[in-house]
């Protein structure tokens, strides 16, 4: 059985190179290059700190992605739990020794950049749950033990991240985890029940929110209530996007960002600057690029023989989608402001590292899509 042999044998290096998904690879590269130009614009049309730093991260993490892709998906399956626990350990480390910045303790100092373990958790949770659902019998998916297990797996990092405090990332971690639960076959009624419980507990949750978080929700509901204070970001963001028009103000000509009216333009509000300079057409083009990436990942999931690859790809594709939607909804004034970066585009090492690791595993799944995992 030739085919059987091939499945169980490692592919040669060149076979692996051949099996890479070049459409996905090209799209990610394109996005990286685009992000460099946008970063150059946030620096006011000069190659300054943010552009240089962003460039160095791409230089490190893009090859890392390909490096990861060349490992057999089996290895990633094997390492999944370990990875999850490693990130939990990092979160514990950060909660004690992390770098304090603007009131929250999220980062640990690595030489190259400050690592934010909660970003890695976005990937780790998908890996961990994908492995869990890969291994569990379908009959047991809705058993009490199983449900309790996965809820615990999701809740531990969420509670840790919330205590940093970092509402945005914990929401994204929860969303990533829940989607794998959904894909794994957890009954709809559990989602409905828990949604009802969530709604009922919402007032209590709100009473536990920090004052600035409450303020953000109020501001979201009515940004004009404090235009120079809490509502400033969202108002300026809408002005920037709206004034971009159909074809934008042109590269390096976004007055809102150039004249410093835009807050956080390097990170969470990077889309605002992009949209101001490149307009509706540019924004839609960017969304199409993201869509291509998501569709490619979904396709890889669909052709994968192992349910682990499938669950991971679908889960990761959905996670990327959620990041984009949460970020865009935020800058477009459709959701309250929660810190959430735009994948690859936003300045920030951890987010890019996590995303690149995700792409790497997806590519590994592509190369080994015929691989069965026991």
């Amino acid at each position: 059985m030739f085919q059987h042999d091939r499945l169980n044998n490692e592919l040669t290096f060149w076979q692996k190179v051949k099996e890479l998904d070049y459409i996905l690879l090209t799209s990610v590269l394109l996005l990286s290059i685009l992000s460099l130009f946008v970063m150059y614009s946030t620096d006011g049309g000069e190659i300054l700190f943010h552009t240089k730093s962003h460039f160095s991260k791409i230089i490190f993490f893009f090859p890392l992605m390909i490096f990861i892709a060349f490992f057999n998906i089996k290895w990633w399956h094997k390492l999944s739990y370990l990875f999850y626990f490693a990130v939990i350990l990092l979160l514990i480390y950060v909660s004690f020794f992390g770098i304090m910045s603007s009131g929250s303790r999220r980062w640990m100092d690595l030489y190259l950049f400050n690592l934010q373990p909660s970003e890695l958790m976005k990937i780790a949770i998908i890996l961990c749950l994908a492995k869990y659902y890969h291994r569990i019998k379908i009959e047991n998916v809705n058993s009490i033990t199983s449900i309790m297990t996965v809820v615990t797996i999701i809740l531990i990092p969420i509670i840790m991240v919330l205590s940093q405090p970092d509402l945005g990332t914990s929401i994204l971690i929860a969303a990533s985890g829940l989607i794998v639960l959904w894909l794994g076959g957890v009954k709809i009624k559990y989602f409905i029940y828990s949604f009802i419980v969530f709604l009922i507990s919402l007032p209590f949750v709100i009473s536990f929110l920090k004052p600035y978080q409450k303020l953000r929700i109020l501001t979201f509901l009515d940004p004009d209530r404090d235009p120079l204070g809490a509502g400033y970001q969202i108002i300026q963001s809408k002005i920037a996007i709206g004034s971009g028009g159909l074809d934008g103000k042109g590269f390096l000509k976004g007055t809102q960002s150039y004249l410093d009216f835009l807050p956080e333009k390097h990170t969470d509000f990077i889309f605002t600057l992009f949209s101001e300079e490149f307009g509706f057409i540019g924004s839609v083009a960017l969304l199409i690029l993201y869509s291509i990436i998501i569709i490619r990942i979904l396709r890889i999931g669909a052709i994968s023989r192992s349910n682990f690859s499938r669950l991971f790809c679908f889960g990761f594709a959905f996670a990327i989608f959620i990041y984009i939607v949460v970020n865009l909804s935020m800058v477009l004034g459709l959701l309250p402001i929660v810190g959430s970066p735009l994948p690859i585009m936003s300045y920030g090492g951890s987010s890019m590292l996590a995303t690149m690791i995700g792409f790497g595993i997806v590519l590994s799944a592509k190369i080994n899509h015929k691989q069965m995992i026991a």
């Binding site: 379908i138 894909l183 076959g185 009216f261 979904l298 349910n307 499938r310 989608f321 939607v325 477009l332």
Partner: protein, 634 residues
Amino acid sequence: MIKGNSGIRKTDVINRRMFIIGAAKIIIFTGIIARLFSLQVNENKKYLTLSDKNRIREWKLPPIRGDIVDYFGNIIAGNLKVYQLHIIPEQVENFNYLLTRLKTLLKLSDKKIEKIVKLKNKLKPWESIIVSENLSWSDFLKINNYLYDLVGVKPVMTISRNYPFSEVYTHILGYVSQPNEEEILANETVQERFVPGMKIGKLGLEKTLENYLIGTNAIQRYEVNAYGKRINQLEHQKGKQGLRVRLTVDTEVQKACGKLLNDRAGSISVMDIYTGDIIAMYSSPSYDPNKFLFGISNDDWALIRNNPLKPLVNKTLSGLYSPGSTIKPIVALSALENKIVSPSFKVKCTGKIELYGQTFHCWKEKGHGFVSLKNAMKQSCDTYFYEVARLLGVDRLNVTAEKFGLGKKVLGDYFDFEKSGLFPNTKWKKNNLGKGWVLGETLITGIGQGYTQTTPLQLCLMTAQIANGGYSIKPRIIVDNNPMPIEEIKRKLKEETLHSQEKKLFKDPRNIKIVQEAMFSSTNELYGTSYKSRIDDPKYQFAGKTGTAQVKRISMRERELDLKIEQIPYKDRDHALYIAYGPYINPRYALSIIIEHGGSGSRTAAPIAKELFKLIIDRNDLRNKQKNFEEIKI
């Protein structure tokens, strides 16, 4: 293969569920694109405007004030280039070094340095600090020479108000200076156009005509960043200079008035008897309004404020004086009009009369003997006018006096400090003092003492209206736009009188004539009180009436002592007054002169008229030739 089966079933579940969220993804992406579309395409205009509002800021520059010119177009309140020194803190490398350099270069005081440091801490680093508002040319040159060493210093050329004739026009024009908050809020136009460093009218016409003179701001549009710092200039919109205002005054006459008054406390007013044009209006002593432009120094201010001759008071408009004998033409006219006396009515003057148990003295102790109206006026016999006033009564006298403009503001709204003065009647006393009128008071009112209070300009208007034949005129200080030859003005004046009784101030023109003749004799006939100051040349010949207003009651002892003026303390000396008009044939100008504590009218005030009439009448031709050169709408 149960396990394989389970794997396949699991795959089915995963795939099915993937499709459900796949569909959800498409819907959500569509929603986001719809939102993008609504912001960027549908509401693009709204957000573009908001974005421009964010980034474009306007800077208003101080408007340039309109010039004020005299009748001949000479600028009497203009604008001058001034040199200023600004520091832009963010460009300064070493602030302390810069300050020490400037301190030695410009000889700045420690206080000034302190002020600059305080300002620096208050302002944003890109907002300029004005170190000196008015640098001398030599200092400006010095700064420019050392500019290489003064990083962050900016020499600036700007425009400031200037009064080229210094003190000559102060009491007419007032001056401009930096407004306080109340003054800004009081005037909407100022409020709208105000920018720091701008000056507004504080007094006089500068204040009254503020809205005409102010001009509109030049506007500079800059692109600014989120912190308000200017990034680059987008547009410069020029402002419009304020309106040019042309006054009726003649600088030569005005200057001559100042010279003749020679810093004595007093006032001279000159008026065109037909047009009501004020030719000159000088209150003395005056002060230099230029000193107020950049904030007057404490020493200068103390000097002005503490001067006992009260330079801050506009004596022409708000100085109140007893008219003294200058009221006599009105008393005479009133008596004639009311048919109390005829020109041939005579009174015997013995130097005093005793009435109601009181003695009323004539200024001439020996008395004038039998005097008629003309002689009484000529020699200013008090006894005659006591008698006439007694016969006439104060109420009838009051009617005539008010007709001729006493007790009313002359220029109305143009000067907010103008006083209306007072001409009493019995009703006034009852209402205001709560006491009945005493007949003795009628007597002294008849010689211009007592309750009567007039401003010099009122006396001038009164004289002008006697001179023009008894027609009411409206005095004015600003030239309007319909110049008419003098004949036409005269004709119109008479014509209007036919239609409106208000314009005609007399019943019988002969009565006016009689008073005019009496005034003529007072100046031009032997024994007339101002005979010494007469001019025989008919071209300049004028008619007038002296007045000597007592500032305090003369006691019996003082009367016996008959002191010379130098022997009386300044404060107790009489005010010297003179009213006149000329040329006697074909009159055109009237004037009133008052010298505070000047002694007698004939000795102090009348000689000034002699000097002045020559100049006024010589300039009449020039004045007639002067055309209206510009449209001014006020």
